[in-house]
Amino acid sequence: MNTQTLHADIIPKAPLAPALPGKGLFHLTPVNQRRLDNFKRNKRGYWSFWLFMVLFVLSLFAEVIANERPIMASYKGEILFPIVKDYPEEKFGGFLAQTDYRDPVIADEIKAHGWMLWPPIRFSYNTHNLDLPTPAPSAPTWSLTPEQCAGVLAKRFADKPGASCRDLEMNWLGTDDAGRDVVARLIYGFRISILFGLVLAGISSVIGILAGAVQGYFGGWLDLVFQRFIEIWSSLPHLYILIIVSSIITPSFFVLLGILLLFSWVSLVHVVRAEFLRARNFEYVNAARALGLSNAKIMFRHLLPNAMVATLTFLPFVVNASVTTLTSLDFLGLGLPPGSPSLGEMLLQGKSNLQAPWLGLTGFFVIALMLSLLVFVGEAVRDAFDPRKTFS
């Protein structure tokens, strides 16, 4: 590029502007490209991210993986989709309002006039296994002794004398104290934990960024008053308020989300505020002001990208904290309503049923895995946004 010469009078007639470079959907600025490379270079975090995404996406399809209804069925030439549609049991010769496809009578009836396509696990999170070989909580089926299975085998496989434990319906990780399959509850519980964590982290980030941005950018009295308010607000005892509120209204997913949101939005305010406070006097912000940009535009275009670095670095840890909060509330019995699949509740069952170690161990390992993955991802994100880290 020749910058040495000045061309005062040789202005060409043809348009000077080059054609727009191909800015596809995934166009990345060089800065972001470098960040992505840094993220990928942190192998542990990168693989954790993919593993986490696979688990999360799988859990989103929990209904197809673990369900008490078949995905598809054919009955007397008619193709049915029980997984999405309720069929009254009358259709198959029963009398219940909703068909219980696990009922041997119904199952045999459908099999006699067609076929059923089942999910890999034939339990939903609230399905009670009525053929438990031992009193609930029942151990994983593969670990049962023939004597333990004998009772159920006699009942279910009376016509097949050679049947063993292996012919029973598998509860891969046993059942809980209500006879519900642990694997099914795990998949649904994982989903609800992650979704709760993501939604809580997402909404509280948005609120936190807005509040921090306004405080940092305008400063002065607004900042002073808001900061004092936040100090008082965050010194309220969260747990007691939660206990009180949950004794008045039944805590559902959204009620819990709302209550936790009341306090969790504070976490990002300080970071964003500091970033805006620092950057609002940058020269390029002054230049934008001199160009006549409005405050909102300056905040959005010039300051928010700065604050996003700090925010995105924090985000995985905020998700982690949200997941942990929900789990601990469930563990204390203050969380989601009884019967909901939840990892915290599984831990609680593990605690009250020490003779059934599969409950506590499953809960522990899944929570540990989930939180570790998120922390590893968080580390990789932090590395990726570290401006000094240009190489691994």
């Binding site: 910058t3 502007a17 727009l20 060089p30 800065v31 390029y284 001199a290 160009l291 006549g292 940009l293």
Partner: protein, 545 residues
Amino acid sequence: MSLEPQPLLEVRDLSIAFHQGGRTSLAVDRVSFSLKPGRTLALVGESGSGKSVTALSIVKLLGATSASYPSGEVLYKGQDLLQANEEALRRVRGNEITMVFQEPMTSLNPLHPIARQIGEILELHGMGGASERRTRTIELLEEVGIPDPANRLDAYPHQLSGGQRQRVMIAMALANRPDLFIADEPTTALDVTVQAQILRLLKDLQAKRGMAMLFITHDLGIVRKIADDVCVMQRGKIVEAGPTEEVFRAPQHPYTQALLAAEPKGKPPVADPTATPVLTGDNIRVWFPIKRGFFRRTIGHVKAVDGISLTVREGQTVGVVGESGSGKTTLGLALLRLIRSEGPIAYLGQRIDGFDAKQMRPLRRDMQVVFQDPYGSLSPRMSVAEIVEEGLAIQSPQLHWRERREIVAKALFDTGLDPAAMDRYPHEFSGGQRQRIAIARAMALEPRFVVLDEPTSALDMSVQAQIVDLLRDLQKRRNLAYMFISHDLKVVRALATDLIVMRHGKVVESGPAAEIFAAPASDYTRALFAAAFNIEADASGVVSQ
């Protein structure tokens, strides 16, 4: 002379390489020089030429992880410091070889009083006894010209001026009577008047102590003033070396010739007091209140700008000069209505000092600003096209994006940049090119009045001259009114038609630039000019320390 004195420091074939992201780049390429006791050697070059890296590697202060030395040796009194172990280096560092860095703001720990920071060095190198150290500290402070040193011992760095801080740094460096003193751009961050004082201090101290000095600078004026010998560095190589006088009289290498010729040249447009006034300010005041006590009552004011009147005319340039803290930039921001001020401001005869942000918005396209730091004034997250067209998108929203791109391209072309590069990002450009982008951003709106806030200060000398030419060229073609803020009088002389000399928020002297430069009326202006053009310190005390 019967015996040539043994060189104190001899650098032979030194190469320094940096490793980053799997790539290795050679910062210094087979550099050799030697320094005898009592002499001053200057390393000169533009930023990125490897002069500071060379100096730092003499005492191996570069991070060991990223830097390596593919070749060469650094012989200090016959001992190769590159091969020396950490313990031997510690004995040399701060004791026999000491350094002073550029930034006096960050070189001192803000949490410790200066006596403690000087005492620490004395203690580290084996001076016991608190009272003994105290006496020595007072001696040292006296030596570097801190007035009333006994009472300044417990001062914290923020209570001292920049020049005084640099004096304290020098006192720390001299504490153990070094044989070799390395000064890495020690005056770059200081005002010209203070710079002249510090340089004289260094020269005096060197004569008194007989120490050798390695002086690193980009300013050839300083070299001529202070150095016995000079090495000119370009891209990691020494392209020319020799006694200062010889190099200045007959430079051999084309790069040295270019450097010597790089001073801003040319004449400002002819002063024309009849041209249309674009912007007038009358008795402008910017006072920042000082609030104390529980009820935050205002007990006084910091008078950053205190009653300044000026008129900027079409096609003319008002130069505003003064030391840092004199209120130049504040005045510029006040005229652009970017900070609150008192006193009438009129744009083309229309009073604008009562306008709110919304009323100002349409006027912003006529009044633009270019800032000092080309690295800070461009958002690193936006491409050049986005940066330049940002103002257009606000001021002329009716334009199609294709038209906007065309205007951007034209503005870049006008400022001497290749429009084809408009979709690249600022970090891919050099400092001078970035400043051109900043100028293009202002020019894209076709303003009539531009505030130039030290647009050349952060740039290398040769680039400064180009930017000055560009600004003058743009002014001529577009009949622009400039307000040019600078502490660099050489640049101001090449651009300004009128001049305002400011100090402590007040006007010291103002009038047509040619007259003031020819015959400054006040003592302060005279001292400022002496410091700027001849690097001579003023002894009469009109300038601050």
